[in-house]
């Protein structure tokens, strides 16, 4: 029964309520009719009852008026308004529109805020770390000096006394040269002992940096007078903590590692060199003879380039006396001196530079995707407002007038979004110090200052112009007649017919492409990080506790130290849950190897070879504690004592390079006591990567600490404990054992080996996580954007789909039509995205380990993920399409 018709007839033409009301009453009539029939009434009886109802309704049709569809109560500004008043009018109108369409506003503002926020944070990091001048006067003339030998494959890490002294004598290209080395010392006093970072600096270094003292003077020392060298300059924090900021601190005594230093000055709070954590500076005299290594910087003469300085340094270094065989041990090559002179800022930040640029580009891509998404939303809205524009044009508003109006609206939206983005960025930047790895350079220099804010606002402005331009161009072209004639019903096939629809699809494909690029980057970095963490380092870092135990020279002779260590290790071994315990002169991932060079007769052919190797003193149990695999022979045992024959263990690189086919049993010049010249190789252990996995493994020679007749001479030995359970559970026992041995010493750097590993990988992890977060965000906006575009297409094609269904198309066919369109867009986006990823791959390769930038797994996974997201985004619009009721559409 056609209830709509019957209801309509009941009212009569004269007083017909609006269609919606008729529809609602017809629905009620239908339900009442069905109910009456269900109760057993005959068809006629049921119809009679309903007609009674209709009569009651139509008695007073006036009360059947619904609130008319509220037309925009926002009154557009006058067409003729121009100048400032016009602009203010536009602004007011835009604000009203923003309030009225608050969900739309919220989506746009949030999208822009995230895009701008991410870009601003990255810009502030790049600016603060890479661009902002370092805080020292004429910092652009400061250069870092590093030295190696031609033919060496080891990374350059230091400068040598030989080249330093040769160059410091009347240099031509530099004003001054300064050296330093930094480490921890035990600061003792009335308030207890603590380990603090102290830098030994040459007397030239502080003036070279333009350091100004708050109190006193920088030390000026006589290299010949050893007593003169016991001076110290303390930092502001130490001054306040230990001396209450009193001015009579000068001349007082500070005890470092048991020795007395006279306080010569107090540094200003802003000075932090070599690091912000440096608490004190003591004199360092570069002595001739032998080969010593330290850090060095120089100040270039005005107008001199680093290359010119480098040429002079090379010439001076090569003319200096040859320190002999030790060069081989240190550099692994006896080639001529090779100095590298790089601007200080570059040397501080060089390591993070490629990653920061990569992340900045990623943030830019994210912003581009966000902007494209907003542009697409604004275009859709402009389509919905065609009638408004057409009517206003008809009332006399020129095309330019409407364009200005739209630009004002969009710029306002963009700036509000940018404002929120800036707030978000400020909040994130405040949290950065706890987020960034501790060794990240120049963390203190990262801040939101006016430059960063200007960047952010400029970016929002540019983005709004971009996403406002498309709708504005569209509005400028509005044709009066067709827009007014068109009744919101698109012609059949309208999905891609119009330029606007095509523009939206193109923007959509762009968003998918950006998401693909970011996802590939995140996937590749993520896989690289997994490869780094699971790489075979030659030992098993799980369930190992490590700590460093400072036993300073002032209170411990090497012999006394060796005895104390033996007692500590013996104690530890008896703790329940400890499966192995050892002491050594070093730990994997902790820099500070002892290097040695010597000649030996090769067991292979009896010829003399020059050996250069790092040397480590370890107690029996070291290999067990680290689960360092023994490949041949044996490790050290408790019976390898000073009384027994001297024995050593070498790593595979050592064995392969110097010992030939049968390394075990070979004799190597490495004496433990007087009268002994050689020790016997009793075992070969696996190579251990002591630093980054990517560094080449160097030859390594292990000596047994029990056999050292002169005692243990490293004043900060390392303890290694393997446990059956959670390694940190042993910490309290370890502390009590140590304080039982000597209450005045404190353990430092107590960490599980896994934790050390994680810390050493903090940067790659951060990069992977950041890129991952960007990728997830890009994926979300692409998904949501696609959903919006498809929903719009479905509603535009309602008529077409209705016609198709009426003509016999099954719901599946209709769904396919929608999916097809989505798939064309996405596939295009994915292909472009993957192509871009492949094209830029080589810029990323230096950040990767164990995976190529063209990793097929990552590419496939990314494609699958994107297609899945597209399918999810399609489900709702496709179902809606399939449910379109042809009868309603065609009525």
């Amino acid at each position: 029964m056609d209830w709509n018709r019957i209801v309509g007839e009941a009212f009569g033409q004269r007083q017909m309520p609006e269609d919606d009301v008729i529809d609602e009453l017809a629905q009620h009539a239908d339900s009442a009719y069905q109910a009456a029939r269900a109760e057993g009434s005959s068809g006629d009886e049921a119809e009679r009852r309903v007609r009674e109802l209709l009569q009651a309704w139509s008695a007073d049709p006036d009360v059947l008026t619904r609130r008319p569809r509220r037309p925009s109560t926002v009154v557009p500004p006058k067409a003729s308004a121009s100048g400032l008043a016009g602009l203010l009018g536009d602004l007011r109108y835009a604000l009203q529109l923003m309030r009225r369409q608050w969900t739309h506003t919220l989506v746009v503002v949030l999208t822009m805020a995230l895009g701008i926020g991410a870009s601003t944070v990255l810009f502030s990091v790049v600016y603060g770390v890479l661009v902002k001048p370092v805080p020292w006067p004429d910092a652009d003339r400061l250069v870092r000096l590093l030295e190696t030998r031609q033919g060496s494959t080891r990374p350059m890490r230091f400068f040598t006394n030989v080249t330093f002294l040769a160059w410091a004598d009347k240099p031509a290209t530099i004003e001054r040269i300064g050296g330093w080395s930094s480490g921890r010392m035990t600061l003792s006093g009335t308030t207890g002992a603590e380990r603090v970072i102290v830098a030994e600096v040459t007397s030239e270094l502080l003036p070279l940096l333009g350091a100004r003292l708050a109190l006193g003077r920088p030390f000026d020392i006589d290299p010949a007078n050893a007593l003169d060298q016991h001076q110290v300059v303390i930092d502001d924090r130490l001054w306040h903590e230990r001396f209450g900021g009193r001015r009579d601190v000068l001349g007082q005594v500070l005890r470092l590692d048991g020795a007395s230093y006279r306080i010569a000055g107090v540094m200003t709070p802003s000075f932090g060199f070599p690091s912000r954590e440096t608490r004190a500076w003591i004199p360092f005299v570069v002595k001739p003879g032998g080969l010593s290594m330290f850090q060095a910087i120089a100040r270039l003469n005005p107008g001199v380039t680093p290359a010119q300085a480098q040429a002079e340094a090379n010439a001076r270094g090569r003319a200096a006396p040859d320190p002999g065989l030790v060069v081989m041990a240190v550099f692994g090559s006896k080639g001529p001196v090779q100095v590298s002179v790089v601007p200080l800022i570059e040397s501080i930040t060089g390591e993070v530079r490629p990653a920061l640029f990569l992340l900045l580009v990623a943030a830019g891509l994210l912003l581009a995707a966000a902007t494209a998404n907003v542009a697409s939303l604004q275009l859709a809205r402009a389509m919905n407002r065609r009638r408004e524009f057409a009517i206003r044009a008809a009332l006399g508003a020129g095309g330019g007038r409407l364009v200005r109006q739209l630009l004002v609206e969009n710029t306002l939206l963009g700036l509000v979004g940018g404002g929120f983005g800036l707030v978000l960025a400020a909040w994130l930047v405040r949290g950065l110090p706890s987020l960034l790895p501790a060794d990240f350079p120049r963390i203190a220099d990262i801040a939101i200052d006016w430059r960063v804010a200007a960047f952010s606002i400029g970016l929002s402005f540019a983005a709004s112009i971009f996403f406002g331009l498309a709708p504005a161009l569209h509005a400028g072209r509005v044709k009066l007649a067709p827009s007014l004639a068109e009744d919101g019903l698109a012609p059949v096939g309208g999905g891609t017919r119009t330029a606007t629809a095509r523009a939206r699809l193109l923007l959509m494909a762009g968003q998918v492409a950006v998401a693909a690029v970011l996802l590939v980057g995140a996937a590749v970095l993520g896989r690289s990080f997994v490869a780094l963490i699971s790489a075979d380092r030659g030992y098993d870092p799980s369930r190992v506790l490590t700590a460093r135990l400072p036993l300073p020279d002032a209170t411990y002779t090497p012999v006394r130290r060796a005895a104390a260590l033996e007692r500590v290790v013996d104690h530890l071994k008896r703790v329940p849950g400890v499966t192995a315990a050892a002491v050594s002169t070093g730990l994997p991932l902790v820099p500070g190897d002892t290097l040695a060079g010597f000649n030996m007769r090769s067991p292979r052919d009896g010829r003399d070879v020059q050996v250069h190797t790092s040397i480590r003193h370890v107690s029996p149990g070291y290999f067990e504690a680290l689960r360092l695999r023994i490949r041949d022979g044996r490790g050290f045992t408790e019976s390898d004592t000073a009384a027994a024959r001297g024995v050593i263990v070498v790593n595979r690189v050592f064995a392969r390079r110097y010992l030939g086919d049968k390394p075990v049993g070979s004799r190597v010049p490495s004496s433990y006591k007087h009268g002994e010249t050689e020790a016997e190789v009793v075992g070969v252990v696996d190579d251990v990567s002591n630093g980054a996995v990517t560094d080449p493994v160097a030859p390594e020679l292990y000596r047994c600490s029990l056999q050292l007749s002169d005692g243990f001479d490293d004043d900060v030995p390392s303890l290694i404990v393997r446990t059956a359970g959670e390694p940190l559970g042993v910490v309290p026992v370890l502390r009590s054992i140590v304080s039982g041995e000597d209450a005045s010493v404190a353990l430092e750097s107590v960490m599980t080996m896994e934790n050390r590993l994680a810390t050493s990988l903090a940067k790659p992890r951060l990069y992977a996580l950041l890129l991952g977060a960007f990728a997830v965000f890009a994926l979300t906006i692409a998904g949501v954007g696609l959903f919006g575009v498809l929903s719009r297409i479905v509603s535009l094609r309602t008529r077409e789909i209705g016609v198709r269904t009426a003509l016999g198309a099954a719901p599946a066919d209709v769904v396919r039509v929608v999916l097809q369109q989505a798939m064309v867009v996405t596939t295009g986006g994915i292909v472009v995205g993957l192509a871009i990823s492949a094209a830029v791959g080589r810029y990323v390769s230096q950040l990767l380990y164990g995976v190529t930038p063209y990793d097929p797994v990552s590419y496939s996974v990314v494609s699958i993920v994107l297609i899945l997201v597209v399918i999810v985004a399609c489900i709702v619009p496709a179902r809606r399409a399939a449910r379109i009721d042809p009868a309603r559409v065609l009525r």
Binding site: Q27, H28, A35, L53, L64, T65, R67, D885, R888
Partner: protein, 114 residues
């Protein structure tokens, strides 16, 4: 005659209360509302359906409720109404007015004693 008049007045005044109370439970369409009033009052409030839609539209105009078309596959589209926050407030105040009214009636006319 007087009883009949009182009943009609009561009915008209209570329409809003009934509609708001039913929408408080969940969104409903017009026929559903009419049916529930009939069912729950066990026929004692046979409701003048003619006044239902004017009431709904009036409440909607006052932003107390909101109507929305919902389509389900294979069914007529239906207009569902839901209670808006302002409607919830009006419902609460009407309830207390009616409670007061009944308490007064009871004190005077001893309704509950039967």
């Amino acid at each position: 005659m007087t009883t009949h008049l009182l009943k009609r007045e009561l009915k008209r005044g209570s329409t809003e209360l009934l509609v708001l109370a039913l929408l408080e439970e969940q969104p409903r369409h017009g026929y559903d509302i009419a049916r529930l009033i009939d069912e729950r009052s066990q026929g004692s409030i046979t409701y003048q359906v003619a006044s239902l839609y004017p009431t709904l539209y009036r409440l909607e105009n006052r932003d107390l409720i909101e109507g929305r078309w919902v389509e389900k596959a294979g069914q007529r589209r239906r207009r569902y109404y839901r209670l808006l926050p302002a409607g919830r407030k009006v419902l609460a105040s009407q309830r207390s007015v009616w409670e007061g009214f009944f308490a007064g009636l009871d004190r005077v006319a001893h309704l509950t004693q039967g």
